[in-house]
Structure formats: C-alpha cells, structure tokens
Amino acid sequence: MTTTAPPPAPTPAVATPPPSPSARFRVPGAFLLGAVLLFGVAPLVLSDFRISLLAKYLCYAIVAVGVSLAWGRGGLLVLGQGVFFGLGGYAMAMHLKLADAAAAGETLPDFMLLYGSGDALPWWWRPFANPVFALAATVLLPMAVAALLGYFVFRRRVRGAYFAILSQALAAALSIWLVGQQTTTGGTNGLTDIRGFFGYDLSDPVNQRTVYFVVAGVLLLLMAAARQLFVSRYGELLVAVRDAEERVRFLGYDPAAVKLVAYVVAAGTAGLAGALFVPAVGIISPALIGIVPSIGFVIGAAVGGRASLVGAVLGAVAVAWAQSSLSDAFPAAWTYLQGLLFVVAVGFLPGGLASVVTALRARRTRTAPAPAPTKGETA
C-alpha cells in the first residue's frame, strides 16, 4: 500500500529560499526598523533599569547570531558556546578588574587580596593589564580555541551528536576549572563588582546607557555581517554541507573547512557577547558559562527559528526577557515553561516561530500567481 514515490510538491520551498531581488531590498528596511527601535524608541520609553536589562538580553542575542550561523545554517549543534562566551567575558573582566585595582592604588584585584593568593599577579593575568591586548583577546582568544578544536574535530569527521557532546564536555571542563582555581579566578563567585569601563564609572546611569548603545550597535553590525554571509556563496555552501555533507565532499569542496569557518565565527561572536556582557551586567562567573547556560544559548535561537537570523535574535531576546521577568516571581513556573519551550519549539516546530511567519507569508502570496522559480541567478 505504501508508495515510495516522492509526494507531489508544487508548493515553493519555504525553508531557505534563494536570495531573490526583493529579499535584497527588504532587509535594509528591517535593518533600519531595528536601528530605529533600538536607538530611537527603546531609550525614550524605557527606564535606566530596563535599558540595562535590555543590554543584557542583547548580549544573548549576539550569541544567537553565531548560533544561527553554526547551528541553523551549518547544522553544528554548538552546545559549548558558554566556553567562548566565558573566554571573552573573563578576558574583559580581568582587564577591568586590573584597571579598577590600578585606580584604587592597588596592584592586585580585590578578590586576590581577600583570598590571600600572594603578592604577585599570576603571569597569565599580566598581559590583560594592556587594554589593546585585552580587547583583542576577547574575540581572538575564543576564535583561536575554536579554530584549534574545530580543525581537529572536523578533520576527523566528528559530527552530529559526538560534536555536541564534545563541546558540552568542554563547557563543563572550563567551568569546573574556574571553580577550582578560586585564588586566581574568583572561583564560584567569578569576577564581580566591576566598577569602571575604560575610565568611565559604570554606576553612572549615563554610562550604562552608553554601554547599551555599544551593545545594540554591535548587534546590528553583526546581524548585517551575518546576513551578508548567509546570502553569499559561502552561506549556500554551508547549507549544502548541513543537508548533504557527502555530496559536497564529492563535488570537490572540503566540508571540514566550511564548517570550521562557521564554528570560528560563531565562537568570536560569543566571545564578543561575553566581553560586552561584563560591563552591561557587571559580573562574569562559572554559573554563567557552564553546561546549563550553554544549552540556554541555543534555546532562544530554537524558539525564534534557528535558520532565520532575525528569528534567532528575537527568540533569544524574548527567552531572556521571559526568564528574567518570570524567574523572580514564579521560579517553579518558569522552569516548567522553559522545559516546555524546548519540547514544543524543538520537537514540534523545528523551524521556530520564523517558520510560522514564512508559512503564513507563503499562503498569502499563493493566492497571487506563483512567481517564477529564481534558480541560477546567484551571480
């Protein structure tokens, strides 16, 4: 009774349509709308407190940009983004702690004096006193780690579940190590109580707003860059690797290199997000980068739509907002809801909310004469 013939599919593919001319014009519009909302509307209507919360959510959204690239487009389930977020965050926090200490006339950060870890700064802390080194390290350090790991992992064709579990193990390892090294990393508490940001006082609401603008600007720039990457030839190759890796290999490409680029870019994005998280929130700790938050970085993208850049970013902001507004008032209810989000969004709506929007849009346009297929115009 069962037939093996493919079902008739006259409907246009809705998953990842090829870039059509109208799509090229639509996105600057969305980009402008985002810029107006983030830079114009939000600062006017939100209080100082809400603005600094929004800055925190936008940091998670920056991670989601990388997740959308690596997972949504590349099929790499990056369950260890906490590692890169943490590397970026700690690099930034170490510099800020040293700067705070220098401003207070001390040679050691306050927690080192407290734990009595000796008079000398550990050697690996020293370079972070230099602002240029620290800023570069927030992005380059995660990228270097990802490049090293990815080079070996992808070359040996470790993929799928193996890759996810490996990256998760690294997140566990980093947070366990940080907890264990209390005298040099602050242990479970992490690096807290960060007061200044390159000479500006972070307790001043005006400077908090500036930090928000920096975060929002970085997010928009990264989204624009990621969008260009998505519609480029590389973006198409990445999707091809996700869907049919062996075929791409037989066509003469090296899937390992394609995946490596996505993984490294996602790591750099997460590192940058971690670096911005530190001035925006004032803390970085092992609890923010371990196994649980690392999976949390993925869920926002899953809810909004992993393959859709805007969907992933909005999903990340929405989940972070729901978490912070619900988890204080109803901690139990929030955990159930979070679990349910995973089950429903991933299990039953793998395209996320973005796929619902696409489906609705497709239904609306189907009443009009179907547009001619726009194959082969990828110049």
């Binding site: 389930l77 070996f152 193990a169 690294l170 366990i176 090294q181 991933v346």
Partner: protein, 294 residues
C-alpha cells in the same frame, strides 16, 4: 605499594559508578541512537525512590534491596512513557532529541524540587555497607564493593539479555537493520520501547547505588550526564565492552590525577583527555565497522 593499591581501588570504584550510570546509555544512545539528556534525571528518580522507601518502610537494608527492582520499574516506566510520548516521533532527528529531552530533564528537576524540596535529602546506609574490609593492607569500603558488584551484575545481566533472550535478539536485529527487521515481522516500535524501558531502568538502579556515595538532590542528574555520555562515546557507540573498559580506565585515570593534583584539575584533565582521545579514535575504542559513509 599500598598507596598504589589503594588508589587503584579508588579508581575502580569511580569506574564502577561511571559504568553504572553509562550502562543504560549504551542501550538507549548506543544501540538506538537516542540522545537522552533526561537520563540523569532517571538516575535521580532511582535515588529518590530509595529515599521514599526508607521514609515509608523504615530501616536501611530492606528498603535498599527493595529499591533496586522498584527504581528499575519507576525509572523504566518514565523512560517508556518518554519514548512513547516524544522520542518515537524524533528518531530521524537525533540532535533535536537532545534538546527535547533536555527540556524534559528541566521539568523533571523542577518536579523533584516541588515534591522533595530544593535542598539535598539523605538516606542512611545499612550497617553492612558502612564498614571496611582489609585485604592485603588495602582498605576496601563495603559500599564501594557493593557498587562494583552491582555494576558487574548489571553488565552481566545486560549482556546475557542481549545475547541469549528472544528480546535481545530482536533488539540487535533492529539495531543492525531496521527495515529488514520490520519486514521479518518484528514490531520495531515495541522493541524500541522495551529497550528504552530497560535502559532507563538501569539508570534507576544506578540512582539507588549513588545514594550510598553522594548527595540526593534535584540537580544530581546534571552532575553525571556528561560523564555518562563521554564513557559511551569514548567506548564506542553501542559497544558494551567499550563502555566497561572506558569506565574503569577513566576511573583509574581520575584517581591517579586526584592523588597527584586536586579533584577539579583531575576532572578537567579527564574531560580534555577524552576529547583528545576522540581525535585519535573518532569512533571510540571499539568500533562497529560498517560500509556506511556516516
């Protein structure tokens, strides 16, 4: 010499715990390819079953023995329910299964928190399992010996089940070639559910054993899940022998490192060592050779 023997016993008992928590996964992840992140919460279910039984029955020894089969049934039942409700719809999407079962794990953790409170609870070990046995100058704690015996018994039972029983034969047939098994008249859906029941039940048994050595709390599953997966992955997916060898090797490695450094450094080195090991043998210690490209 005594130090070496003592440390190797510590290592072997760490390995026994690793083996117990990973054994159920070799069946569900290894044989069926399902990444069940709620496996840790099934372990937690077993531990709480022991706690509830001790509260209800009183005493220490009888509840522990009663808890072994009961925890198997409770955790196995939860596993079968999970398989029936969610996982069977997701067999073709293993990565999504990972995230979905993580969601289930979050809910189960919160359920435990609502039922038993957020702080850890404690069980009392029976007197026979609190003492020491001294063999050739090496002090062996009886609770560790019990866990070792339990782990080996579970391995033996699972091996015999897979090798000799009709169910085991069906499981192996489905693993090797699902379509062919189906056309041969095997109800693959039912085999999947039974295998999942057994795998999750073994997690429950592990949970009973863990009440002897660690705290019982809502988040205890998260502490074990990564270790359990690493044992299965490094041992070679679907290879029982690989899981046994890897569990004991990792246990001994951890014990040696703990002796020379600190616990957290040892843990990190073991994790990194497994990641490095997979560079060398991406398919794990024992591989099932197939001609498939993936």
């Amino acid at each position: 010499m005594t130090v070496i023997l003592n440390q190797s016993f510590t290592g072997i008992s760490i390995g026994a715990v690793l083996l117990l928590i990973a054994l159920g996964l070799t069946l569900t992840f290894g044989q069926m390819g399902v990444i069940n992140m709620a496996h840790g919460e099934f372990i937690m279910t077993g531990a709480y079953t022991t706690y509830v039984l001790q509260q209800a029955v009183g005493g220490a020894g009888v509840p522990l023995l009663l808890a072994l089969p009961l925890a198997f049934l409770v955790a196995g039942g939860l596993g079968a329910l999970l398989e029936w409700l969610l996982i069977r719809r997701l067999y073709t999407r293993p990565l999504d299964t990972l995230l979905v079962t993580w969601g289930v794990a979050l809910m189960l953790q919160q359920l435990a928190r609502d039922l038993f409170g957020a702080p850890n609870v404690h069980t009392t070990a029976p007197d026979t399992l609190t003492g020491n046995v001294s063999v050739a100058g090496v002090v062996l704690t009886t609770n560790r010996l019990f866990i070792l015996g339990l782990a080996l018994a579970c391995v033996l039972g699972l091996t015999l089940m897979l090798r000799l029983t009709p169910l085991g034969r069906r499981v192996r047939a489905v693993v090797q070639n699902r379509e062919l098994a189906e056309v041969s008249g095997i109800a693959t859906g039912r085999v999947d559910r039974t295998a999942f029941f057994i795998g999750s039940g073994l997690a429950g048994v592990a949970g009973v054993a863990l009440t002897l050595v660690g705290p019982i709390g809502p988040t205890m599953g998260t502490n074990y899940i990564v270790d359990a997966f690493l044992v299965v992955v490094a041992g070679g997916i679907g290879r029982l022998r690989g899981a046994v060898v890897t569990a004991f090797a990792l246990g001994v490695l951890q014990a040696v490192l703990e002796y020379s450094t600190t616990t957290s450094v040892a843990k990190v080195v073991v994790l990194v060592a497994v990641v490095a090991f997979l560079q060398w043998r991406p398919q794990g210690l024992y591989t099932l050779r197939t001609r498939s490209l993936v």
